[in-house]
């Protein structure tokens, strides 16, 4: 039976996050964007409210929540600030490889501690030379007795400078290509790990983004998540579940941009009337609504499919959601700045930040170009 309504708990969740965003994120977003400082306090508060690590299974004491709940949380937070959202939400990304590919003992050892304190976990796949072509990664893991010796660099790693744990994708044999890739749980306190600077980004500026260098880091063999050669599959299974919440964040940001520009258009008068009376403005607002509503539905559809075990179809829909949400959010934010005119171009008004923030969504978690390749591949299969 088709049902488009949220359950009572989902509605309560949405309302709670909206309130949290109103009180904790929105008043502080501009400040963190300006200084680029890490929003540690807000992360801690989000953790206390139970909004992090929602994917840790119930049998380990976690919430055991799926993609749809993640989507609801991310849309609401995205409407507040994408930089802060990324800082909070990226733990789910970091822990998924362990939850999907790890043994119970490994989930117990590496993931469960995140339930007792606001630790951070970073997902380490991308490298300076391997972005869209993630499968060509070069970070080497050489077997030596009871350990893997890790050597190489990762790039654009979120929360790298503050993480307690890294889930690192590396290769044991480049010649095997993706079949040589493994996933290692790497505690941040192991010797040999160093970081690049906090990148000075166009948008999502408070999100800590760095290079990581592994220099002969000794990782115990028991930290191998899944079997040798399974690493790439674990990464893809993870991204299948995080792509949609990321898209939802863009939906939230676009929604905020639309609300701001709608309210501005009602106040701003030119030629003797509110600019909201002009069709040019109305058409922009109408198109924003179409884009946002349709992107949200794709996110819900994808989340529902994955949560109900239809991973392949859900993965396909997550590509649709990500491609649409990211691209439309950029269009919506750009139009929002346009509606605000000169004022929108300054930091005094909130829309230029949204435009800078959403640009990144077209790039990370699979570029909009990669999403199109995935979609086309699926379509041309039969």
């Amino acid at each position: 039976m088709l049902n488009f309504s949220l359950s009572d708990e989902q509605t309560a969740l949405r309302d709670m996050v909206r309130k949290f965003v109103q009180q904790e994120i929105i008043p502080n977003a501009a400040k963190y964007d300006e200084t680029g400082e890490f929003p540690r306090e807000i992360i801690n508060k989000a953790w206390e409210a139970g909004l992090m690590n929602i994917n840790i299974p119930e049998k380990f004491g976690g919430m055991g929540l799926g993609v749809l709940s993640d989507v609801i949380i991310n849309e609401e937070m995205g409407a507040g600030c994408l930089g802060i959202t990324t800082s909070i939400a990226v733990n789910t990304l970091g822990l998924y490889p362990i939850i999907l590919g790890g043994t119970d003992a490994q989930i117990e050892e590496f993931a469960v501690p995140f339930l007792s304190s606001p630790k951070l976990c970073s997902f380490c796949l991308t490298e300076p030379g391997a972005g869209s072509d993630a499968g060509s990664l070069s970070t080497m893991a050489t077997e030596e007795g009871d350990h893997f010796i890790l050597n190489g660099s990762k790039m654009w790693i979120t929360n790298a400078g503050h993480a307690d744990l890294f889930t690192v994708f590396c290769t044991t044999n480049k010649e095997l290509k993706t079949k040589g890739i493994i996933c290692l749980a790497v505690p941040a306190n192991l010797p040999g790990i160093s970081f690049g600077k906090h990148e000075n980004k166009l948008g999502q500026r408070c999100s800590d983004t760095r290079a990581i260098n592994f220099d002969n880091v000794k990782v115990p063999k028991k930290n191998l998540i899944g079997k040798i050669g399974e690493g790439f599959k674990i990464a893809m299974r993870t991204l299948d579940r995080t792509r949609t919440p990321i898209a939802a964040g863009a939906v939230g940001a676009a929604r905020a941009a639309m609300t701001y520009s709608k309210n501005y258009a009602k106040e701003r008068k030119q030629f003797g009337q509110p600019i909201a009376n002009f069709q040019a403005i109305q058409f922009m607002l109408a198109d924003m609504a179409v884009k946002i509503e349709s992107a949200r539905l794709l996110c819900y559809n994808s989340g529902w499919l994955i949560d109900n075990g239809q991973i392949e179809q859900g993965g396909y829909f997550s590509a649709l959601a990500k491609r649409h949400a990211a691209d439309m959010a950029m269009e919506v934010a750009t139009d929002a700045v346009q509606i605000y005119g000169g004022y929108g171009y300054t930091k005094e008004y909130p829309v230029e930040k949204i435009m800078r923030d959403v640009k990144l969504v077209q790039i990370y978690e699979g570029t909009s170009q990669i999403q199109r390749i995935v979609i086309a591949r699926h379509l041309l299969k039969d």
């Binding site: 009572d8 709670m16 206390e48 929602i54």
Partner: protein, 258 residues
């Protein structure tokens, strides 16, 4: 020790209030209902009191139609142990609500009863006193600090007076405490809390169950009006000393704020 928190579900502060055609009420169709913000401070104070004393249970109570159960669930999601719904449709006033709340407090043997100093919809600010009178308990309102004695027989309260002064009040327990903003920072309903709250059993009473089947509201609203349109500002003229004199006169005689 039973800690009781009396809460009211009210329209969200951002609501665009519309008056019904017969002018006897407000349109409730599109309203977003929330816990009265002052009652959120009361819930938090109840939870904090239980944490400080390292014992006791927190029971939240509300009176109203079925939609008010949502307010109870949010309170449970914040951490309240028990929730009681007094189901009442139709016209409610402070009298009828207070009668019902007092009956529940008696049944539950509430040792300390917290509630917000006022509800933000009708601003009556009377329920705390009404309930206390019906129970013959002492009460105090506009409280920003509440310390329970170690033997749990007394409470020392800080009451906000005008001009920033504080009155220190000592009361025996049981008592009814009307709390003000500033007493604490209400916690968020946690995500695990929200999930658990869904399954929580909520005790329901009708007015009949409480022996109040024959009671009705005694104060009925007969007419609602929107506030007058904001008048244009006054522009003062003349030299500065003249303007100052005129401004002071207006503030004293017209605005009556000095």
């Amino acid at each position: 020790m039973t800690i009781i928190v009396l809460i009211k579900q009210v329209p969200d502060t951002e609501t665009k209030v519309r008056i019904t055609g017969d002018k006897k009420g407000i349109e409730t169709n599109d309203i977003k209902w929330v816990i009265n913000p002052y009652d959120e401070f009361a819930i938090e104070e109840g939870l904090k009191t239980k944490e400080r004393l390292k014992e006791g249970t927190v029971t939240v109570v509300t009176v109203g139609p079925d939609r008010t159960v949502e307010a109870l669930r949010t309170a449970v999601a914040m951490g309240a142990d028990n929730a009681i719904h007094v189901k009442a449709e139709g016209t409610l006033d402070t009298y009828l609500v207070s009668k019902a709340l007092a009956e529940v407090c008696k049944k539950e043997n509430g040792q300390i009863i917290f509630t917000g100093k006022q509800a933000i919809d009708d601003d009556q600010a009377a329920t705390f006193a009404y309930v206390a009178e019906l129970l013959d308990y002492p009460s105090a309102t506009v409280i920003v600090k509440c310390d329970i004695s170690a033997d749990k027989t007394k409470a020392t309260l800080e009451q906000e007076a005008d001009s920033g002064a504080k009155n220190i009040i000592e009361t025996s327990l049981p008592a009814v405490i009307g709390v003000n903003k500033g007493i604490n920072t209400p916690r968020y309903a946690s995500l695990p809390g929200i999930m658990k709250a869904k399954k929580k059993e909520i005790k329901t009473y009708t007015l009949n169950d409480l022996g109040l089947g024959a009671e009705t509201a005694r104060a009925i609203d007969t007419d609602y009006q929107l506030p007058p349109e904001r008048a244009a500002g006054k522009k003062l003229s003349g030299d500065i000393p003249t303007q100052v004199k005129e401004l002071v006169r207006l503030l004293r005689e017209e605005a009556k704020v000095i």
